[in-house]
């Protein structure tokens, strides 16, 4: 095309962030989630310690079309580094690359792009591993009991929870006593999760376990089990350790939770970002730990509980 170019290629060269810029921005996957709030808390603490300022801007939904404008807007007020949980491992590459070309350092937290050349560092827990851990934990809870297991996923196309569900299903195949009745999508709505659980109870009387891949599905599943009076009889394994899930674990709604370490991810993200900004060496990938928490060991693992505010 005539004069073909690319967006963000300001003719005459782009001015990167001003030297000495001490602003960091965190763009989590979605607002209102304790997971990301805890990450923000960890990151803020670390940033303050290192003499940086950290802003957080979250999309309303876990949706690339909502996260893109937020990232693009940063091009106007360039921060020194961006910590981001990309909501789509390809779609977010464009805006992130644009920022990177403007001289902003990119650190991925929680999720990562397929294109490994964009970010300087990625800190994440392996979601498939988390799914596996959930399957093992559930099998342990059931102690050889025979029966069916239901997996509740959020929305088709959500990479993180899809990976958890897949890891779970793959691992479950190793337990001959447990049979998967398949993955069901809930559109991330608790009421649909509740409805799927009660329907499964109607049609699959030997249901012994449910794996819910995030907070909303977990809450919905617990509600469904409550309705059916099956709390505790059907083992419910949730993902993440938000305050509400921890309460649920305490009260017996959940039998186990697979917790990540969001605060740790946030802290390490800031460390890497600062290192990148200051021209120090960075570590390309960091694996964050995952733990299974049950009612019995919950007191000893309270450092993994997520926070709903800093």
């Amino acid at each position: 095309a005539c004069g073909g170019g690319q967006v963000g290629q300001t003719p005459g060269g782009s001015a990167g962030p001003a030297p000495g810029n001490k602003n960091l921005v965190l763009v989590p996957g979605v607002q209102n989630e304790p997971f990301y709030i805890s990450m923000q808390c960890g990151a803020q603490q670390e940033a303050a310690k290192l003499g940086y300022k950290l802003d957080t801007q979250a999309p309303q939904k876990f949706d690339a079309s909502l996260q893109t404008p937020i990232v693009n807007a940063l091009g106007a007020n360039k921060p020194a580094a961006l910590l981001i949980a990309p909501t789509d491992d390809v779609a977010m590459a464009t805006p992130m690359t644009t920022l990177k070309n403007m001289g902003v350092k990119i650190i991925e937290v929680d999720t990562a792009l397929q294109d490994k050349s964009v970010a300087q560092s990625s800190i994440s827990s392996n979601n498939a591993e988390g799914g596996k851990l959930a399957a093992d934990t559930l099998a342990g809870l059931l102690k050889g009991q025979k029966g069916s297991v239901l997996v509740l996923d959020t929305i088709a196309g959500t990479s993180t929870t899809n990976a958890r569900a897949k890891g779970f299903t793959d691992e479950l195949a190793k337990y001959p006593n447990l049979k998967s009745v398949g993955v069901q999508f809930t559109q991330n709505e608790p009421d649909q999760a509740a409805s799927k659980v009660t329907a499964a109870l109607s049609s699959t009387p030997d249901l012994v376990g449910v794996f819910a891949t995030n907070l909303n599905t977990g809450e919905g599943a617990a509600t469904g089990l409550h309705n059916a009076g099956k709390i505790g009889k059907v083992k419910l394994v949730g993902f993440d350790a938000s305050p509400s899930e921890v309460d649920g674990l305490k009260s017996g709604d959940f039998q186990a939770l697979i917790a990540q370490d969001p605060a740790g991810i946030g802290k390490q993200g800031v460390d890497q970002a600062v290192a990148a900004v200051e021209g120090k060496p960075v570590q390309r990938t960091i694996d964050a730990p995952l733990v299974a928490i049950t009612k019995d060991d919950m007191d000893s693992k309270s450092q993994y509980f997520y926070k709903s505010s800093c």
Binding site: Q184, E189, D191, T198, L201, S202, S203, H226, S308, S309
Partner: protein, 343 residues
């Protein structure tokens, strides 16, 4: 019988028979669709579908939406629309939960009925407040309902998030969950369902037998005529959105009791679901016609369908396609029958 006899005394021949009225009722054919769905699933999975448990959970799961849809029926009959119900529901739940925490001085887990009732009142007041705001903007400032409620949809959700810094409250009186949320009365009937049924009956009574209901139809049928007839259209519209807000407040409390959580990130499709239920029940988006009974049927058709599909294990993606197809087919069938009746 000659033509003469029929029209002698200035009009008004006697009423048609009950059978004819039933066949003529706007809700008859769509009601048949609902019954047909139940029969089909009953035959396909008699042991799983036609059980007390399935019926109980089906009713409980639709209770909240039913309450929202009753309010929506009034709004749509006036020719308006309310997209904000889901957000107002969340906001009310959030305020209510906060208030209960506050009067219990911290966690309200062990609070008694006094606190719970207080929470209910707070929820209703919160919902009503948004309803009044919607109503005034629509009726007095004459801004299109779609814009107003789209605005308050975002604003109520933002405000709810602000209140607890974006996270859910899950420490609620446990009595509330066990009695209202999933308790039953008369042996089998879930309490949440009783609440929804009572509200629906009141709604139907209000709409179909009172002056308030009559004016609702009049405003929707021809607002200018209503105004010239001395109906306070502004005031009436305001009270209708207020009513809807109040019902959303109750629904927020019910949702709180049901989920035991404020579920901020949920309920985003409640508005469209409620509107769909109302329209499926034969209420026109252009206003002036509609019934609460139709809305009830409209709420249950998708609910039964999804429940049935989940029970007979239809894959999710197929389910989405099938639910879409059945919605359309049900309304098509209804239209078809009604049209032939008018031939």
């Amino acid at each position: 019988m000659t033509a003469e006899e029929e029209v002698v005394n200035g009009g008004a021949i006697e009423k048609p028979t009950l059978g004819a009225r039933l066949l003529g009722a706007n809700t008859f054919w769509i009601g048949l669709v609902l019954i047909a769905l139940c029969v089909v699933f009953g035959v396909l999975e008699p042991t799983a579908f036609l059980t007390l448990f399935t019926v109980q959970t089906l009713l409980i799961e639709t209770a909240v939406l039913l309450v929202l849809s009753v309010g929506m029926t009034f709004v749509i009959i006036t020719g308006g629309i309310d997209l904000s119900v889901g957000s107002v529901l969340i906001f009310s739940g959030m305020v209510s939960a906060k208030a209960m925490e506050w009067v219990s001085g911290g966690s309200s887990t062990n609070a008694g009925w006094g606190v719970i009732l207080f929470g209910l009142v707070v929820a209703i007041v919160a919902g009503t407040a948004w309803g009044i705001l919607n109503g005034l903007l629509i009726a007095a400032a004459k801004i299109p309902p779609l814009i107003v409620t789209l605005g308050t949809l975002g604003a109520a959700l933002g405000a709810a998030s602000l209140l607890n810094n974006g996270s859910d409250i899950r420490t609620l009186p446990s009595t509330m969950r066990t009695t209202i949320g999933y308790g039953t009365s008369f042996g089998y009937v879930p309490n949440l369902v009783i609440v929804a049924v009572v509200l629906t009956l009141i709604g139907a009574w209000l709409l179909h037998t009172t002056v308030f209901g009559r004016h609702t139809f009049a405003v929707g049928s021809n607002a200018e005529a209503a105004r010239r007839s001395g109906i306070g259209v502004t005031r009436h519209l305001t009270s209708i959105y207020t009513l809807t807000g109040a019902l959303a407040g109750v629904a927020g409390f019910m949702s709180l009791a049901y989920f035991g959580s404020t579920t901020i990130s949920a309920h985003s499709t409640d508005n469209l679901n409620a509107i769909a239920a109302v329209v499926m029940g034969g209420t026109s988006l252009f206003g002036g016609v509609g019934t609460v009974l139709g809305t009830v049927i409209g709420v249950f058709i998708p609910a039964v369908l999804k429940k049935g599909f989940n029970i007979i294990h239809v894959q999710d993606f197929w389910q989405m396609i099938a639910v879409g197809a059945v919605l359309i087919a049900a309304v098509w069938f209804d239209q078809q029958r009604r049209r032939s009746r008018n031939r």
